[in-house]
Symmetry: C2
Subunit: 421 residues, 2 copies
Amino acid sequence: MQKVPRYLEKLTPVEEAVKAIMEAVKPVAEEELVDTWTAVGRVLSRDVVAAYDFPPRPRSAYDGYAVRSGDTPGRLRLLGEATIGRVDVEYRVEPGTAVYVSTGAYLPDGADTVVPEEKARRENGYIIVEKHYPPGKNLDPVGAYARRGQVLLPKGYVVTMLDAVGLLDVAVTRIYVYRRVRLAMILTGNEIFELRNPMEAEERVLRGEVVESTGRLIEWAIRRYTPWVEVLGRVLLPDDVDTIAWYVTRQFRNADVIVMTGGSGPSTVDTFYQLAERLGGRVLFRGLYVKGGRPTSALKLDKGPLLIVLSGHPISALHGFVRVLYPVLKYLGNVVRAAEPPAFAYAVLEEGGEYKRPQPVKVKLILRDGVLYAKPLPGERQLSSVTVSNVEADGIALVEGRRYNAGERVPVIVYREPSTG
Amino acid sequence: MQKVPRYLEKLTPVEEAVKAIMEAVKPVAEEELVDTWTAVGRVLSRDVVAAYDFPPRPRSAYDGYAVRSGDTPGRLRLLGEATIGRVDVEYRVEPGTAVYVSTGAYLPDGADTVVPEEKARRENGYIIVEKHYPPGKNLDPVGAYARRGQVLLPKGYVVTMLDAVGLLDVAVTRIYVYRRVRLAMILTGNEIFELRNPMEAEERVLRGEVVESTGRLIEWAIRRYTPWVEVLGRVLLPDDVDTIAWYVTRQFRNADVIVMTGGSGPSTVDTFYQLAERLGGRVLFRGLYVKGGRPTSALKLDKGPLLIVLSGHPISALHGFVRVLYPVLKYLGNVVRAAEPPAFAYAVLEEGGEYKRPQPVKVKLILRDGVLYAKPLPGERQLSSVTVSNVEADGIALVEGRRYNAGERVPVIVYREPSTG
């Protein structure tokens, strides 16, 4: 029988743990120039600066008629149409004439104002304009949306889908971004297996084996919340230090971070220390001062990647992700401001409680008059390692280690539409 | 020059528009049996019911020693180890003996209680237990997580990643779900082009052409918020009714919904009516009573798909998505409760304002003491068709057509991490 190692003796507080990692690793430095769609989810390595005044020529802000202000009011001959996307404006608005323009179309030369379509009457190839339109009316002047040299999106920001749409509109088609943070996943545990054959899997679970789900959940969280990270690979391995070490040194040596699940519990073979000894590395911390994710640990390999170990239990691993891995991936990726973080919604606690350590708390969510309320599941279900209680919950609140009163606000990972009333 | 059709004469209120569509179409009826990972994002077509009591045998809730209650306190001979995932427990706990168990492991026969590892002393193949442990202590009894027949997740719920993890833990490996809603996208506009060559694209945008971004944004929103929808295809077409009709009838005839962007504005060729006439269909509504997304319209083709037209402008199209397409896709997909909806975070308005119609308002988001505040961008930037103002904003608030006072709460699509303080 194997020697059972001693229990984790010192648990490191979250802030200290994150700080220890940040001191041991450096953010990604390499940058690349990519097209604007490819930049979505990536981190800007330089400010995005407008290269031009945009629009470069005045643009109509309405569907209507481009005319000369001096001609209004009046009866004007309609020359034709200058719709958005016309490469060249074919018409010149001479005195006494008008050109139909659609919203966003460049104004034809000669015109200096726009009469909205519904304000003019049409009559046999002419339009009748009843009142005076001053120059510059109903149009966007040169530089209305962007001025040459203006910072459109600052360095360190994650480019969101909406940013990309906005930048393309003002002719920003290429963007400098940091290369993605390279991450690999090693999921360990003799008892885990990948779901391939559902019927066989059912039997195996009933017999005591476990479908690998922790790694899947963490990979999902990485793709969802840290799109600037590239998942190089994801492998299931038995609790065997030789095999794990081989993977670390032969397969994933170019990763910035290796995330390992399992292998760090108090009573399993302590893969963690053995790896540190075998590969030459520095233990940054060993065990996190939290409830749910206590085995979370970190190791910096000499001339090798950072190794972060998360709990083998899904909810506890997710807690480790939110508390440690997420801030570390932001740091490695040079992120100043991300897209939606995992827990940006705040909910009002419907019940107080005493929490000894930072912990994830499964909650039912209720939306009432625009306020989100969170009702913690009964104690033993808040953090059950068997996670069926997820289906009773809609989110995971993140509490700190202290007493909470009903009515206090807590950040929540919302994974289901809250119920109402 | 083309005949310019008259302006939209009647705008339909949002609720009426959604109702008109729901009356014209039927939700998906077909179901399929898929594995639990595949079910993520899909809609349950039946309740998920536990087929077994789970765990089927008592499981240890701690790393510790499985013993007989009657033997405690006492000195017990350690027989070996029964770790999680062992297919068969090899040891039987006879009087005077103990077996090491890890958290989640099935209890060996004979044992009826668990002594946590740190509460026992180990001594030459024996353990010393100092106090009495009653039967059932530190273990999860049969059926603790799921009872045979129990509804684990009800019909109509979207299966979230966390649900899947929980269900796999109790041996639910196959799930009945509705087939996905089939959606195709037709993006129209003579002026739009797909971003392929960034340098050339920059020049073309400066000359007045437009990079296709509305369809990309809507496709992103569909994948993000309605994962039960399958995007069959996405095609750019010129403003040509014949071509569009060919696509509708030849390529996308099996879609449940065709989403078209552009082609429904007041002054372009009215593709919409022409399609209805050509293909035989019923106009459900033509123009939405909103600001930003006014051209939103719907058409039910005879024996053909539902056609929903969104604005050609990205933010307006997104508004149409949130107000009309999202509820319709929920209805078509049989969704009772979705995962995170597009706008479940509510923010406190920092400034009041008068809004004539329902409208998207770009906002800066600030998080202070767990309360999210939204500061609307200056009037002309709230809904600019040129969307560079997105980069000044972090979210899009959805307001109704009425006066708002500072301090009122509004739902927000959050697309960037809120700033603090």
